[in-house]
């Protein structure tokens, strides 16, 4: 499903992750992230119909933890069944009960159905902020200067 999600973003080649690596990351002694799943019906070819993957993030202004949702995905065959909403509301429940102050995630600007869905759940776009990243050769070049 991670591959299907990347393919949805036309970025299937970007996925370097493997089941072995994910298993190692997720079930290590001190995992840094969690996965929740929507089970498929017993007569389905699949075990799972969707998943969310998240980790705790931190806000200096609030002085506390929040949930960063890295991925939310539902199989195309299972869309419109409320699975996405169930995954998101499960995280909201965890946030409220465990004291995470908010849930944040990124959405591709071209993903209009996704954005409409999120806005309908009461989320808002942080459009005054832009994300930046440094990776690959640029990251190695910076590291070498130190």
């Amino acid at each position: 499903m991670i591959l299907a999600l990347a393919d949805h973003h036309d970025e299937a080649d970007s996925v370097k992750n493997t089941p072995e690596r994910l298993r190692q990351n997720l079930f290590s002694e001190r995992p840094h992230f969690s996965v929740h799943v929507v089970e498929a019906p017993a007569d389905s070819d699949f075990r799972l119909n969707g998943f969310s993957l998240w980790f705790p993030a931190y806000s200096t202004w609030e002085g506390g933890r929040m949930i960063h949702m890295e991925d939310l995905y539902v199989r195309p065959e299972s869309r419109g069944t409320g699975a996405g909403k169930a995954l998101l509301s499960n995280l909201a429940r965890i946030a409220v009960s465990d004291g995470y102050l908010r849930i944040e995630w990124m959405v591709a600007k071209t993903n209009e159905p996704g954005i409409r869905f999120y806005l309908a759940q009461g989320a808002r776009a942080m459009s005054e902020w832009e994300s930046y990243q440094v990776d690959g050769d640029a990251l190695r070049a910076l590291a070498a200067q130190q």
């Binding site: 960063h68 499960n90 429940r93 849930i103 990124m106 591709a108 009461g122 902020w129 990776d135 640029a138």
Partner: protein
């Protein structure tokens, strides 16, 4: 001379002062709910999940630190690797232009590279042109195909308290 080192408990009070200065710079002076006591527990308590590095101030100036970087680990499902999320990078007004911001960022790049993390990521206010120019000069790219969404406050409460179907 490298003035970057890991934060120690004695730095906490000044780090919180700088967090407030940064919020003022970002035009949100009342946004900071963090206290030194809470940050101390979060950085040096039993289960720290955040990290801070500081730029030390020159001796004799009455200050311990001139800047700081506060960060935590994120995870990319595409890379299958952790990365560094830089929550705050700040250098005191009086210490700007001396290369401390760059030293702090190079330090994080070095940590990432040494540990096999694939990227360093952060958010910047779109009107903050001096910072954006600084980040670009170091090879950072804007993720301008993406928007950050947030579910917080009453909307989160309502959503999270609703009975499970």
């Amino acid at each position: 001379m490298n003035r970057i080192r890991e934060a120690v408990p004695e730095d906490v009070t000044e780090i919180v002062e700088l967090i407030v200065e940064l919020a003022v710079y970002e035009r949100e002076p009342d946004a900071v709910k963090l206290t030194p006591e809470r940050l101390y527990e979060q950085l040096f308590g039993a289960y720290p999940a955040i990290y801070a590095d500081v730029a030390t101030a020159p001796e004799g100036g009455g200050r311990r630190i001139d800047g700081f970087a506060l960060w935590f680990l994120n995870y990319s499902t595409w890379e299958g690797e952790h990365g560094i999320y830089l929550e705050d990078l700040y250098v005191r007004q009086e210490a700007r232009g001396t290369g401390l911001g760059k030293q702090l960022l190079l330090h994080l790049a070095h940590i990432a590279n040494t540990r096999g993390y694939k990227r360093v990521e952060w958010s910047v206010l779109k009107w903050n042109t001096p910072s954006i120019e600084f980040y670009r000069s170091l090879g950072a790219v804007a993720m301008d195909d993406w928007d950050t969404m947030r579910l917080a406050g009453d909307a989160l409460m309502r959503f999270g308290s609703a009975a499970r179907e």
